[in-house]
Each structure stands twice: as C-alpha cells, then as structure tokens.
C-alpha cells in the first residue's frame, strides 16, 4: 500500500516534470520556428479560400443538379449517379484508353526529356546548345488546334507529306491516323515531340546543381562519357526524376482533353476516346454536371491512391518522397 503510494507519487512527479519539459521545449520550438509558421499563413489561407472553399461543389455528384436551384438547392439522390456512370459502356472504354495512353506515354514521353536534357548538357558546341535549347521547346507554345492541322498535313493517308514520300518510293501508304495501332504510334510521337523540349528545362535546372569537380575527377580516372553520365549525371538528377515520376503516376488516370481530342478521330475512336472527352460530352455538352462530377470524383480518389502508393514505394526503394 505504502510502496504503492510512493510509487504513484513519484510517477506523478515525473509526469509533472515531463509536462513542464515539453512546455518549455514547445515554447523554445516556437520561438525558434515561428518565422516558418508566419511564412505559411498566406499560402495556407490561399489554399483554404481558393481550393477548399469551392469544394462543396463535390456534392453535385450526389445530387440531381438543377441549374436554377443551384448546388445547395438541388435534391439529394445518393449514389444513383454513380450507378449510372458505372453502368455506362463508354465509361469503361474511356477508362481503359486513358490508362493505356498514359502508360505508353510514361514509357515514351517520360524518358524523352531526360535523354534530351543529358544530350544538351553534354553538347560541347555552346552556340548550338543555346540555340537548340530554345528551338526544342517551341512546340510547347503551339496550341493543339494548330498542331492538329499540321498533324493532318504530315500524317494524312492520301496527301500527307510522309505518305507522299512513301508512295513516291513505290510503297503502300500507311494509315497513320486511321488505323488504330498506327494511330497509337502517331499519338505518342506527337506527344513526345510537343513536350520533350519543354520537359528538359527542369532537368537542366537540376543539372546546374551537379558539382563540376566530380566530372574532372572522372576525367582523370579516364571514365568514358557513358560511364560519366551513368555514375555522375543521372545520380544528380535522381531526386528530380523520382519527384516527377511520382506526380506522373498520380496522374495516370487523368488525361488532358486537347491532345486526344485533336489528334483523335472517328476512325480510331476505340482508342482515342478517353475520360476527358467522355466528361466533356456528358458534362459540358449535355449539361449532365452530376455525371461529370461523379467521373471527376472517381478520378480524384484513384489519383490520390496512386500518388500515395507511388510515394510510399519510392520512400522504401529510393528514400525519396514528396510527402
């Protein structure tokens, strides 16, 4: 009993001591770090107002949205809209195509800027390096509508430039745009062409952080160019690559509207119809905001799961993460 009481008292004392300690350390912590929290105030206010403020709009997914009743006034319908979307044949087709195109893009368009950036970095002729850097990113500035017209002129079956060349050499014209498998290649190439130059910029920025002395040391060791790229340049880019990869994986299920819409056509709709064009059809064109919101919500949840998964995996594998 006595012993027990003493024990309790001492543990109480220890507790109190501990509390005081944490209070002191918290105090010290804030005295040391208040500036960091001060910096956070405005940006967090921004996120709360402009990003979280409108999020009540997500409830449209669970409502029979009526333009004149507004979001709050519309009637609740529970999961009915989800049932409708998940029952649509086009939903699964476009979901499949979205994942397929994004996955192929990840294989083709993701490494392209990295390779291009390394090539630029290794370029010895300085004037050409600067010039090509500037020209390579021009395609990013040409709007998709215009690219669409150009793609048609270049890849058309009957009078496209490439097919003119092919037929003039006596071969059969290749339906780059109207055969679905050929179209996939066209889609990927055009996407790569449009984004690769622009994508190099971030890698080039990262490359400036690499210590030049390492190269010199490698030069003395007599390491070849490829070895140097492999052992010095790529490791220097590792964290940037990983961050971009994680974000890319998070966006596997979302896809821009314009590229598939502009390059796609009716003959290859089986492949070119994606979630964004699907949402455009049912949402903006047919005014079914509820269904469009359902698809958006589905994409958001899956995207978040993907990014968290990728982040977790990357933390385990490479010790790099974005969270």
């Amino acid at each position: 009993m006595n012993a027990k009481g003493r024990g309790a008292a001492s543990s109480l004392r220890v507790n109190r001591l501990h509390k005081e300690e944490t209070a002191v350390s918290l105090n010290a912590y804030f005295r040391r770090y208040w500036q960091l929290y001060a910096l956070l105030v405005l940006p967090l206010a921004y996120f709360i107002i402009f990003k979280y403020g409108p999020m009540y709009g997500i409830q449209i997914a669970f409502k029979d949205f009526n333009f004149f009743q507004g979001i709050m006034g519309s009637e609740w319908i529970g999961l009915e809209a989800f049932k409708e979307v998940f029952g649509m044949r086009d939903f699964y087709l476009t979901l499949r195509n979205t994942l397929m195109l994004n996955f192929l893009d990840l294989l083709v368009s993701f490494p392209a800027p990295l390779i291009l950036a390394i090539m630029l970095y290794e370029m010895r002729t300085l004037w050409f390096k600067k010039l090509s850097q500037t020209i390579l990113y021009i395609p990013h500035f040409i709007s998709w509508v215009i690219i669409g017209g150009i793609v048609y002129q270049v890849f058309g079956t009957q009078s496209g430039m490439i097919n003119n060349l092919i037929t003039s050499m006596g071969f059969e014209a290749i339906p780059f745009l109207t055969d679905k498998n050929d179209w996939l290649i066209t889609y990927l190439l055009v996407g790569m062409w449009q984004s690769a130059g622009w994508g190099t910029i971030i890698y080039l920025a990262a490359l400036t952080g690499i210590n030049k002395e390492l190269f010199e040391a490698a030069g003395i060791d007599g390491a070849g160019r490829f070895k140097r790229i492999w052992h010095i340049t790529l490791p220097g880019l590792k964290s940037t690559i990983v961050v971009l990869l994680i974000i890319n994986l998070g966006h596997m299920i979302s896809i821009g509207f314009e590229r598939p819409y502009v390059i796609g056509n009716l003959a290859v709709r089986e492949y070119s119809d994606v979630l964004s064009t699907f949402v455009y059809r049912i949402g903006l064109q047919s005014g079914q905001y509820t269904l469009a919101t359902v698809v958006g919500l589905f994409q958001a949840v899956v995207g978040l799961v993907f990014v968290l998964g990728a982040n977790y995996a990357s933390k385990k594998l490479t010790d790099e993460s974005i969270l």
């Binding site: 770090y33 500036q35 960091l36 910096l39 956070l40 405005l42 940006p43 967090l44 921004y46 979280y52 403020g53 409108p54 999020m55 009540y56 709009g57 997500i58 449209i60 291009l116 090539m119 630029l120 370029m123 010895r124 050409f128 600067k130 090509s132 500037t134 020209i135 390579l136 990113y137 021009i138 500035f141 040409i142 709007s143 509508v145 215009i146 690219i147 150009i150 002129q153 130059g197 971030i202 080039l204 920025a205 990262a206 400036t208 952080g209 210590n211 030049k212 160019r225 964290s239 940037t240 971009l244 974000i247 919101t293 958006g296 958001a300 995207g303 978040l304 990014v307 974005i322 969270l323």
Partner: protein, 290 residues
C-alpha cells in the same frame, strides 16, 4: 587516344541527333510563319509548306494596325508579370517551411496541398467564389485563383531539400533568422529552379485563357491568347455553327490567323533564352556549395 576518338564519335553523334530534333521542332513554326506571309490562294490550295508563297506582309500590317491587339499585348505582359511575381512569392513562402523536415505539422500541411492536386470544387462554385470576392471582370480574377501550383511547389521543395543541411545549420548557429537564411542562402542557391518555376508560371499564364472566358467581360482585359482563340475557333466549331446556317460570321483569312499566332507567341518565346543566364550563375553557386 582511343578515349579521344570515342569522345569525338559521341560528340558528333550527339550533334547530329540534336540537330535533327531541333529541325523537327522548328518546322511547324516555320510553317506557321510561312502561312502568315503568304496570300490566300496558295494557302487555300495547301501549297504553302515551309516557305511563303506569293510573299506579302498584309497580315502583319493588319495585326499591328489593330490597336486592340497592341493593347492586349500590353495587358498580357502586365498580367503575366504580376502573376509570376505573386506566384513565386507565395510558392517560396510555403515551399521553404515545408522543406524543413523538423517542422511540426509538416505532413499535415503537405497533405492539404496534395489533396488539391486531385480534388476541386468544379467550375460553378469557383465562379461563385470569384463573384463573391468581387473579382469578376478584374485582373485579380486571373491572378488570385492560380497563385500556387502544387506540382511546382513540390518541385521547389525537392530542390530545397537537395541543398545540404549543413549550410543552413551553420547559418542558424550563427544566429541568422529563418528569413535571413532563406534570403541569403536558400534563394541564391536555388536560382536555377526559381527561374525555371517562374518560367513555368509565366508561360502557363501567358498561354491560358479558359478562365478568361468565364471571368472577364470587358474587352480591355482580354489577354492575347483569348483573342487568338476567338480568331481561330470562330470557324472551327462546325458542329456548333451548323444551326447558324446563313448567319455564318465572316471568315478570317488563314494568313491573319497565322500572323496573330506569331504575334502572340514570339514575346513569350524569347523569355527563356533571356533567362538562361541564371542557369549559368546557378552552376557557379553550385560549385561554391560543394
């Protein structure tokens, strides 16, 4: 000796491949330029490829004599500069604290940011918000809603993380405040990424116009890309225009469209070459830190 030959082979191959890539990227731009300098007949019959046919500058004289285009250019420059500066201030302000692994609540804050990469309220509540803030039809409607791009923020944080902690710690031991550390160590060392992200923000704003369609009604506040969009879209959307029938608006000549594209693209294109020098200075600082 063998190394040298190997090096030369590498350099030559590198040069040739890059040259081909460069030419492929340049071609469409040349094509648009050629169209802007050609006359209607050859354009309509598809005879213009990389060089102008039946050369004339009519389209450009039209673009440059259109005072609304010039004014729009001025407004776009103002809008883009304002947007870029504010975006960078905000992005750095949140990026620096979130790059501190020791910061309590960091994970929660990051989560708040990442959520917004995927979830959004949609076009209607966003419109209502902008209206309630009294921002409709003002430059702020085009600036405030897009201040922080989570994707760019994450890139910035990852670059901050790559700066050796020892540098910051030594500054902190010296009694430097966090503000000072940020300004005198972190920012100078991150010049390349800051330049890059500024470019991203600037180009995004310059090329974006969908928000303008919703928020802006006064012609004085039309950015160039909106004017361009209207010019190009006008006779593109045949499905929509079908019902108009006899009422079709007058057709805009292709050369005028092309000239407007050039007019609206070149100013932002030359920003990057101008910014490239910050990449070089970044290299020097990078050497210092090592």
């Amino acid at each position: 000796m063998r190394e040298k030959t190997a090096n030369r082979v590498f350099d030559t191959a590198n040069f040739i491949v890059l040259l081909v890539c460069t030419l492929i990227c340049l071609a469409p731009f040349l094509h648009i330029t050629a169209i802007s300098l050609s006359s209607a007949g050859p354009i309509l019959s598809g005879k213009v490829s990389l060089l102008p046919v039946d050369f004339n500058m009519e389209a450009y004289s039209k673009v440059f004599s259109d005072s609304s285009m010039i004014r729009s250019l001025g407004f776009t420059v103002l809008l883009t500069s304002l947007f870029t500066v504010l975006c960078m201030l905000m992005t750095i302000a949140i990026g620096y604290p979130l790059s501190k692994k020791k910061l309590k609540g960091r994970k929660a804050f990051m989560f708040i940011v990442v959520i917004t990469m995927f979830f959004s309220g949609g076009i209607i509540p966003e419109y209502i918000l902008v209206r309630n803030l009294n921002l409709l039809d003002s430059i702020w409607a085009l600036v405030l809603p897009g201040l922080i791009n989570p994707f760019y923020l994450i890139i910035l944080i990852s670059f901050f993380n790559n700066i050796p902690e020892s540098l910051e710690e030594s500054a902190e031991i010296d009694g430097s405040s966090h503000f000072r550390t940020l300004l005198s160590i972190m920012l100078p060392l991150s010049l390349p990424v800051i330049t890059t992200l500024s470019l991203f923000y600037a180009v995004g704003r310059w090329n974006g116009f969908t928000d303008t369609l919703m928020y802006i009604t006064s012609p004085e506040l039309y950015p160039l890309q909106l004017k361009l969009y209207q010019l190009i879209q006008n006779n593109m959307i045949t499905d929509l225009l079908q019902m108009e029938g006899a009422q079709m608006a007058t057709v805009v000549p292709e050369s005028l469209k092309a000239a407007s594209v050039i007019f609206a693209t070149v100013p932002i294109l030359i920003v990057y070459p101008w910014l490239q020098r910050y990449f070089v200075s970044g290299v020097m600082l990078g050497a210092v830190k090592g």
